[in-house]
């Protein structure tokens, strides 16, 4: 394809710096990513042969795109701050943990603790997510095309979790101010988590997140909202049975 007919993304992709983990070490990859400075021309990266490696592309703090061709182990894209990272495979536990900003897309499924303690940015899981998705989230947006496992959004403090499928047991246990939107059924709600009314601002919020996550054919009105009853915010002995 002639260069002048390519989209910017395609052009970037064609100049991607390819990093083969069967040829180079994980440490070399992460250090090369950390050496990037604002304005670098190396804005597109492709990681080959991850083969379940842990800590792939962790701590990246520049707005580059990284395509990981294959499945990854624990903590892929951990503490991401600005990069757009796509995993063309499945992700092990703790994908995108403590993300600050940027985006992460998992084309396959994600294991436990996806997006744990994330503070910002968007995590999209196109498959299913296992237990404790969004645990202790602190501002991240998470969109899961499939289902999520038990104890998801445990102690979730802030941010939005949108689930197109079903949620497992004890959703939102001990939740603070995070907002949960589930389209399918919820197996059970955790302590202090209740169903709430979908007001116009929530419909708008969910629609915006669906759009950002590239979801089509699904309406925001199909979701139910869950959040904190705020009954356990200040300790009261008469609520002790709720814990």
């Amino acid at each position: 394809m002639p260069a002048n007919t390519m989209s910017k993304a395609e052009r970037d992709q064609s100049h991607a710096r390819v990093f083969d983990l069967s040829q180079h070490s994980l440490r070399e990859l992460n250090q090369a990513l950390h050496k990037l400075t604002p304005g670098s021309n190396e804005t597109a990266w492709e990681v080959l042969n991850p083969k379940g490696s842990h800590s792939v592309a962790v701590g990246v703090d520049q707005p580059v795109s990284i395509d990981v061709r294959g499945s990854v182990g624990y903590y892929c894209a951990g503490m991401n701050d600005g990069a757009a990272i796509t995993v063309h495979g499945s992700a092990g536990p703790g994908v995108g943990e403590n993300m600050m900003s940027g985006s992460i897309v998992i084309k396959g499924d994600a294991s436990q603790y996806a997006g744990a303690t994330g503070r910002g940015g968007l995590l999209v899981i196109e498959g299913n997510a296992s237990s404790r998705c969004g645990i202790s989230m602190k501002g991240i947006d998470i969109v899961v095309h499939g289902n999520i496992g038990h104890m998801s959004a445990f102690m979730a403090q802030s941010g939005n979790l949108v689930v197109l499928g079903d949620a497992g047991d004890a959703l939102g246990d001990s939740i603070y101010e995070a907002r949960l939107f589930v389209r399918g059924k919820v197996e059970s709600l955790g302590a202090d988590c209740i169903a709430k009314e979908m007001r116009p601002e929530h419909l708008e919020l969910v629609q915006g997140l669906l759009d950002k996550a590239g979801v089509t054919g699904v309406k925001a009105s199909e979701f139910k909202r869950y959040g904190s009853a705020r009954k356990l915010y200040n300790f009261n002995i008469d609520n002790a049975d709720a814990y």
């Binding site: 994980l26 703090d61 624990y74 903590y75 943990e97």
Partner: protein
């Protein structure tokens, strides 16, 4: 004249003593357990139960003020590209901004820096005050992950993965509503004024195999620069130390039950975990069994008060100690000058431990803008530095008397114990005997 039987003296129960009775009455009135700060207050076998032998015909001393006695220590040289180099083997333990005021955190940083040692963040993230005033700052990686971000991770000098702490092994932090000010709430991403209970488990790893992978992630994010500490409460010191080594720690921190907390249940503080003295030898033994003693470094904390405690801990095989409660006292905590105000709170100087209530007359464990003005960070930092200097001189005095030209050359053979319990825990002979309980079949 009528005869009266002589009365017996009123006798209080040793089991149901005044404190116990008051606690039963308090529980019955309020329906909630007692929450307080600090560490175990009960009498425990401790460093006071050990004595140094000093020099004799077979061991000759060093001149007190002339011959060098090295106090420096390097921590974290196992894997880290930039290990921590400290002038003294006494560090400042993790205490959170939130629990402590901003000026108190600044004072800790100033005092530590003047003394050539490190200070540590806590369960509330890193503040500019402490980063700015701490030459060497250890950044705690806690279950709550309040304020955690890669920028602070990279501007830390070491990272301490906190698994537990001595006051409450198995418990999370607690910060009650009155201390959740706007600034604290923002740093923790929480609504203002709520009772905040930190998680007791890390959200994204469980067990030693996961910990190994988590440490790998932290190393990768920081390009293998920073020493990684793993801090555990004094629960199972042999196995916890061995597992931390296996997981790749550069430094293991073991915190005994006298180690303080900002706030937790009294029943937890006094009944869960082991005394500091009981933790040291198993932790050292684990390192020796793995051939990692002095390669993976050991820090012990919980009830360290003076240079003798420092010297005794080092003689038992640790590389450095850490102080929390004692450092707060040096800043001005529980100072009798505020006695009238302690009385108004129903307590007395020396016993004040309701740190969670945020009404600390000394202005240290508070977020009240007026109270915190009572801490002058420069003067308080100077007091901490003075105190650290005295502790160091005391430890050197003992080491020289034992003929050692470095604090780290002190050894268990320099010690005897005053009680059977302390002898068994420390693995040193009962004074006047060659008996080490538990050794050689006895």
């Amino acid at each position: 004249m009528t005869y009266r039987n002589p009365p017996t003296t009123p006798r209080k129960s040793a089991t149901f003593d005044d404190y116990t009775l008051s606690e039963i009455r308090r529980a019955a009135a309020t329906g909630i357990y007692d929450i307080r700060g600090a560490g175990a207050k009960r009498k425990l076998p401790h460093f006071d139960d050990l004595l140094f032998l000093g020099a004799s015909i077979s061991r000759y001393p060093l001149e007190g003020y002339r011959e060098r006695c090295d106090t420096s220590v390097v921590l974290g040289s196992r894997h880290a590209r930039k290990p921590i180099e400290l002038k003294i083997p006494i560090t400042i333990a993790g205490m959170s901004f939130g629990s402590l005021s901003g000026p108190a955190k600044e004072a800790l940083g100033r005092g530590a820096t003047l003394s050539g040692t490190s200070t540590t963040t806590g369960d509330g993230g890193m503040t500019e005050e402490e980063r700015g005033h701490s030459k060497t700052l250890v950044y705690q990686y806690l279950p709550s992950r309040y304020g955690m971000n890669p920028r602070d991770l990279r501007r830390a000098d070491a990272i301490e993965v906190v698994v537990g702490q001595g006051a409450k092994p198995g418990g999370g932090g607690m910060l009650l509503g009155q201390k959740i000010s706007d600034r604290v709430a923002e740093m923790r991403t929480l609504p203002k004024g709520i009772d905040q209970r930190s998680a007791s488990r890390h959200p994204d790893w469980t067990g030693p195999d996961d910990l190994e992978i988590k440490i790998l992630e932290l190393r990768e994010i920081t390009d293998w620069e920073k020493p990684i500490y793993v801090k555990v409460g004094g629960a199972r010191p042999y196995y916890d130390t061995a597992l931390a080594v296996k997981a790749g720690a550069d430094v293991v921190v073991v915190d005994g039950m006298q180690g303080g907390t900002a706030a937790t249940q009294e029943v937890f503080i006094e009944n869960v975990g082991q005394p500091t003295l009981a933790c040291i030898r198993p932790a050292v033994q684990a390192l020796q069994d793995l051939g990692m003693h002095r390669k993976v470094h050991l820090i012990v904390s919980g009830g360290i008060r003076n240079g003798a405690d420092v010297a005794k801990a080092l003689a038992l095989g640790v590389d450095a100690v850490s102080i929390g409660t004692a450092a707060l006292v040096a800043l001005g905590d529980n100072d009798p000058r505020w006695e009238a105000e302690y009385n108004a709170l129903g307590t007395t100087a020396g016993a004040y431990d309701d740190w969670h209530e945020g009404r600390d007359p000394a202005g240290i464990t508070t977020q009240d803008p007026e109270l915190m003005k009572r801490v002058d960070p420069i003067a308080a930092g100077r007091r901490l530095a003075n105190y650290l200097k005295v502790m160091t001189l005391e430890a050197q005095t003992i080491a020289r008397a034992c003929g050692k030209n470095s604090l780290h050359n002190l050894e268990p053979e320099d010690l005897v114990a005053l009680s059977i319990e302390a002898a068994a825990m420390a693995g040193v002979p009962l004074a006047g005997t060659n008996w080490i309980p538990g050794k050689n079949g006895f």
